[in-house]
Amino acid sequence: MKVEAGEYLIEVRNLNVFYGSFQALKDINLKLQAARITALIGPSGCGKSTFLRSLNRMNDLIDGARTEGEVFFEGKDIFSPETDLLELRRRVGMVFQRPNPFPLSIADNVTYGLRVHGQNDRAWLEERLYWSLQAVNLWDELKDRLKVNALELTGEQQQRLCLARLLALEPEVILMDEPCSALDPLATARIEDLMYELKKKYTIIIVTHNMQQAARVSDFTGYFLLGELVEFGETNEIFTKPKDPRTEDYITGRFG
């Protein structure tokens, strides 16, 4: 089943996440459309990363983390026991705040996900390598250096490589947790262009502390505060006429 652009791809119902006795997310309800960019904003420590990590169940790795509620991805609850966790993570990829390419060659980084999912045909791997690096505009830069260790790349190249590593797996959703916070403004602008490009095929959810970035790239915006989703709506509306006074305080910089 392929969800068309603009249709709902992800539905979050009554999501609560706890770290031990601390409640990091409080009763989150939200629907996300396919092939759109959704920005999540809010002050530090209010649960944006926690929310993002719920969507590919990366919180499972954290000792003492507990989740209640439901997240439907293409109509199926990802927390149900039938969920194929490895397949979920293939379909819902994640880019981290600090670029984290593996200390392997560029080529091995890109094909890593495919090999992990049991695809070992050399010709296919090379085709995906080419395709993925093309998709993040790295192919021309790196085509002669595919055997070089990925740690030798610049921060921007590393972040693009991390994106290529996901795209090789043909995911449907890309989660980005402050993907530009370690990059300079020019690199940030280029990554934003890339996100725009990728939006045609992928559903993107990005956490950012940068208001302008949220306003520039996203179709929808959600404002988190102390574990609650205060407001969610079209980015235009949120930034021009927010309904909740707390949202207004935050985006006009009167947050304190």
Binding site: L61, L85, L86, R89, L104, Y112, V116
Partner: protein
């Protein structure tokens, strides 16, 4: 102000002298071994000394080949047994066990390093030797017994150093891998271990050094016949055992030949260390 500088200079001078005397002590020992063992090697010919098959000191036949082979065999055996076991333990403790279990087990494993080697030899003699003799044949005292005992003895070194190097691999690699849908084991095999490679290699080198230099436990379980064993169930004598067994009564050229044994051991260890270091630094650069 001036006083401080003065005391600083004094301390520096003191440390320099201590460092210098430590290094010169090593230098003097090396020189002494070569001085004592060198001449006889050239008198009887380097080739017959190294490749000679027979060791009859009373008849002035000094062939060290059986002991060279013996040392290499038990060291290799110890690595074959100790490295996979140690590495598996380190991987388990670092990646799969609960943090509490690891916190309890690590000091226990390090304690194993503190047990005197004569105790390992004694345990080998009591349990391992009869077991091998009854179940596998041969005299029990054998290459196999020495390899097993040494394999156990190098475990603490291999485990604690490779554990540290696996733990030093940043978590962001693990997260990145898991987020791509990799299993824990795939993550360990394809990302964590390659990233920890140089530390693991260092663990193996140190384990090897410990195995090739160990004497007491080996003497107790190896049987010590000065000939090349025909199978791993046959007795074997190592270079270190050769020195320790005969030093008590050796005199004259016999004594010098034992020093020459030390020279050969010295050279073998230098060569192995250099090879290992070269591999480590080349892999580190990659």
């Amino acid at each position: 102000m001036t006083d401080l500088r003065k005391s600083d200079r004094l301390i520096k001078l003191g440390l320099l002298m201590i460092a210098f005397s430590a290094i010169s002590a090593l230098f003097v020992i090396t020189l002494f071994i070569f001085e004592q063992g060198g001449p006889i090697m050239f008198k009887y010919g380097l080739k017959s000394f190294i490749f000679g098959q027979d060791w009859y000191p009373s008849e002035k036949i000094f062939g060290l080949w059986p002991m060279i082979v013996g040392s290499l065999m038990v060291t290799l055996g110890a690595l074959i047994i100790g490295v996979p076991l140690g590495l598996a333990t380190a991987i388990f403790l670092a990646e799969f066990s609960s943090r509490r279990l690891a916190r309890i087990l690590k000091p226990v494993i390090e304690l194993l390093a503190g047990i005197p080697s004569v105790v390992y030899g004694f345990l080998g003699l009591m349990f391992l030797i009869p077991f091998i003799r009854e179940n596998l044949g041969g005299p029990g005292l054998s290459v196999l017994a020495a390899s097993i005992i040494l394999g156990i003895m190098i475990l603490p070194t291999v485990i604690s150093i490779s554990l540290d190097s696996i733990r030093a691999v940043p978590d962001c690699y693990r997260e990145g891998s898991i987020a791509l849908g990799a299993t824990r084991w795939q993550t360990v095999r394809m990302v964590v271990l390659p990233a920890a490679r140089s530390g693991i290699l260092a663990a193996i080198i140190l384990g090897m050094g410990r195995a090739i230099g160990e004497t007491m436990a080996v003497i107790m379980v190896a049987g010590n016949a000065a000939e090349i064993p025909s199978s791993i169930l046959q007795p074997v004598r190592t270079l270190t055992s050769n020195i320790a067994l005969e030093m008590g009564y050796a005199a004259g050229e016999h004594r010098q030949a034992l020093f020459a044994t030390g020279v050969i051991l010295f050279v073998i260890i230098m060569v192995l260390n250099t090879i290992a270091n070269l591999t480590a630094s080349r892999q580190g650069k990659r």
